[in-house]
């Protein structure tokens, strides 16, 4: 993983000092509330319903055990003993004191972390696949490029006051696990037949009030041109994006209004001015970035031998077998597996984690996975480099710590925003809905029989819970001061990207479990042998679901 040099340290430390001075001026009444607002947002600090909330960047989801221990310390020292993994792979603290935030940022800087641009109308934390570097279907490791983009976007002097927030995601795999179709810029790494590496560049995807699938502005952009091309796109957006209405300010609206061809022409024209500047990447920089993401010191194992012993362990222990099936993924190196720690235990807000649990993850990362862990946009944690021979031992420890709920990819592994319990923007609570559904579907065998079902819950149309791209999406709405929930079906975040369709009129919270139950019943009664939920939905359409749910009681 990337290691700071003296330049990186200096920039992050100076940022902390800058924010400390700004906070002091604000507290002394020398900086107006409306002027402090964008400054604190760009340092990750929201003021929420109950308290300020601090969002810390986890660049492309990578954390080491030292960083995890510092996070645990911050949970204890400055917060109420827990934190939250967000849908953009970041970590949130829900209860810090405004005047202590500069101290928290200073503590983070010591372990090469920061909260720069985790909020506000600027370029946000770049995200990627949680299995980057170990996924069997990966063509090119996206992390060196993510780090290059992180550095370019950090404290970019020209792009700190964009019309609206701006999100970039990178994918290097066959299966898109970074949702690149739903980002302001989505980058797909590709390798040409002649070995040349570059990107397919998508622009204008996004969720929120107006969900849009991104459009291709360039089929192939050589890797060295990535920063100059990003600079051109963001400059075109900065100058031309709408600033009169914040709901129409994202780049997707500009792309739609301009038309993709005219928009592309504007970008290409701007690029002609910047493509030959010093910002073009060098071989030296590419190899420097790649040098931080080399393979750890893997041992060699025989494929047959390690699989046989796993099979034997699984046969002797059905609970372990279920966990293997749902929470363990294949690895590009023989004898290794990637393990997903479920943060979706029933009764715990999805993505929430205590200080003690964070420390346990740090210890397990040291013991089983080269001292590293990753956050996922589904709000779980991954240990990416575990020896197959040690899975049984790890599983025992995860079970004790509350991380072994074998529900990854199932209905109860839901994405859920903090909702009305915490968020000032929310129209409705989302955590109690998630919990009620988890309680309703508590039979693991039944969940496995249902297979892969993605259920995403957002407490408002800002869509932090990605409801548009869940197989089942739930959106909290406010009707005359009452919380209601709209249900959508058929969304997908992968390369077969699709946006969910609204089922019909919304439901009260009390009705939500029975609505989900009916949706699942229609699926189980309609599916053909081996057919997944999304496939059944795509085959039969929304009508049978509608009929069942809105059928008059008689």
């Amino acid at each position: 993983m990337y290691v700071y040099d003296e330049h990186d340290h200096k920039i992050v430390e100076e940022r902390v000092q800058q924010f400390r001075r700004q906070t002091d001026r604000f507290l002394a009444g020398e900086l107006k509330e409306e002027e402090f607002l964008p400054l604190r947002l760009q340092n990750g600090l929201y003021v929420q319903r109950l308290a300020p909330m601090l969002r810390v960047a986890v660049p492309y989801g990578m954390l080491n055990s030292t960083q995890l221990r510092r996070i645990a310390h911050i949970c204890r020292q400055y917060d109420k003993g827990y934190c939250h993994i967000t849908t953009r792979q970041n970590i949130q603290f829900n209860w810090p004191l405004l005047e202590e935030v500069p101290n928290i940022l200073a503590e983070l800087a010591e372990v090469e972390m920061h909260a720069i641009q985790t909020s506000g109308n600027c370029i946000r934390n770049v995200t990627t696949d949680q299995f980057a570097g170990v996924a069997p279907d990966e063509h090119i490791d996206p992390r060196p490029y993510c780090e290059i983009i992180r550095q370019w976007s950090t404290c970019h002097p020209e792009f700190a006051f964009l019309p609206r927030k701006f999100k970039i995601a990178v994918s290097g795999t066959e299966d898109d696990r970074a949702a690149i179709h739903y980002h302001d810029i989505g980058l797909q790494l590709v390798k040409k037949d002649d070995g040349q590496i570059g990107f397919t560049v998508l622009v204008g995807g996004g969720l929120g009030r107006t969900p849009v699938i991104g459009s291709v502005v360039r089929e192939f952009l050589p890797e060295k041109d990535i920063l100059t091309y990003l600079e051109a796109i963001v400059r075109v957006y900065n100058l031309n994006g709408r600033r009169d209405n914040k709901y129409k300010a994202r780049i997707k609206i500009l792309v739609r209004a301009t038309g993709i061809e005219a928009f592309t022409a504007m970008v290409e024209e701007e690029w002609e001015h910047v493509r030959d500047t010093q910002t073009i990447l060098t071989d030296k920089e590419l190899s420097r970035a790649k040098s931080f993401f080399t393979s750890p010191d893997y041992k060699s194992f025989s494929e047959a031998k390690s699989q046989t012993s796993l099979d034997e362990q699984a046969a002797a222990n059905p609970a372990f077998a279920r966990w293997l099936e749902r929470n363990v993924s294949d690895h590009s190196v023989t004898g290794y597996k990637a393990v997903t720690l479920s943060l979706k235990e029933t009764g715990i807000a999805p993505g929430d984690i205590t200080d003690g649990q964070v420390e346990i993850i740090a210890d397990l990362a040291d013991q089983y996975s080269f001292g590293e862990a990753r956050t996922t946009h589904q709000q779980n944690i991954v240990l990416a480099d575990v020896k197959a021979t040690e899975l049984l031992s790890l599983w025992g420890k995860l079970t004790e710590a509350g991380f072994a709920t074998a529900n990854i990819g199932t209905l109860t592994d839901m994405i859920c925003c903090p909702g009305g319990d915490f968020c000032a923007l929310a129209n409705a609570k989302s955590i109690p809905v998630a919990e009620a559904i988890q309680r309703e579907f508590d039979d693991l065998d039944y969940l496995y029989d249902l297979g892969n079902v993605e259920l995403n819950i957002s407490g408002c149309m800002n869509a932090c819970g990605h409801h548009h791209i869940g197989h089942i999406g739930v959106l909290g709405v406010d009707k005359k001061g009452q919380e209601f929930y709209q249900v959508q079906l058929g969304g997908s975040q992968g390369n077969d990207a699709s946006l969910a369709k609204v089922l019909g009129p919304s439901f009260s919270r009390a009705d939500m479990t029975s609505v989900i139950r009916k949706i699942i019943n229609v699926y189980t009664e309609t599916r053909t042998e081996g057919e997944e939920f999304l496939e059944t939905y795509r085959r039969v359409g929304i009508a049978p679901f509608k009929e069942r749910i809105y059928a008059k009681a008689n």
């Binding site: 040099d5 330049h7 200096k10 920039i11 100076e14 940022r15 800058q18 001075r21 700004q22 001026r25 020398e30 900086l31 002027e35 964008p38 400054l39 109308n121 290059i148 550095q151 370019w152 950090t154 404290c155 970019h156 002097p157 020209e158 792009f159 700190a160 006051f161 964009l162 019309p163 920063l227 400059r235 900065n238 100058l239 600033r243 001015h273 910047v274 500047t277 010093q278 910002t279 990447l281 060098t282 030296k284 920089e285 420097r288």
Partner: protein, 165 residues
């Protein structure tokens, strides 16, 4: 009177900003005046003898490329923030410097804030008409918030990755 920082020093402001587009050009017997773009264009059209004493005000919603034909005779471009959150001014300044090779003064004015000084200076703004209420010492510190940056910009043509040893 509004204070002016130029090239990192507090100096006297010798330019008057003209906001009124109906201002009578005949009044330019002396002094230095920054004009709204339409008024400046009229002065050029009329072959005004006072052009060397005229600068232009570029509002956030105006295209910097419109200044292309005038830049060789313009001593001053004022980028006028309508609101501090309107970041177009940052790109306008960079276009003036990087694409149009403008070497005269670029001065920030209007509704921007002290905490934008460092980024603005990186984008090629070399003079700042300080907003009301700003403490000069504090502004000087904001202007030097960072001693290093990742990106290439007007103050540093090489991005950090070309400067790392």
């Amino acid at each position: 009177m509004q204070r002016l920082i130029k090239n990192g020093e507090l100096i006297n402001n010798e330019w008057t900003l003209v906001e009124d587009e109906d201002f009578d050009l005949a009044e330019f017997s002396q002094g230095q005046w920054a004009l709204p773009l339409p008024l400046y264009e009229k002065a050029v059209e009329n072959g005004s003898a006072a052009l060397s004493r005229m600068g232009v005000i570029l509002n956030s919603d105006q295209d910097a490329l419109k200044l292309r034909d005038y830049l060789d005779k313009l001593p001053l471009v004022v980028i006028n923030f309508s609101a501090f959150a309107d970041g177009r001014s940052f790109s306008q300044a960079r276009i003036l410097r990087d694409q149009l090779d403008y070497t005269g003064e670029i001065r920030a004015a209007g509704n921007y804030m002290q905490d934008q000084l460092f980024y603005l200076s990186r984008c090629g703004v070399d003079a700042f008409l300080l907003p009301e209420g700003v403490v000069v010492e504090s502004a000087m510190q904001s202007l030097a918030d960072f001693s290093d940056s990742y990106q290439a910009a007007c103050d540093e043509p090489q991005p950090l990755f070309r400067r790392r040893v």
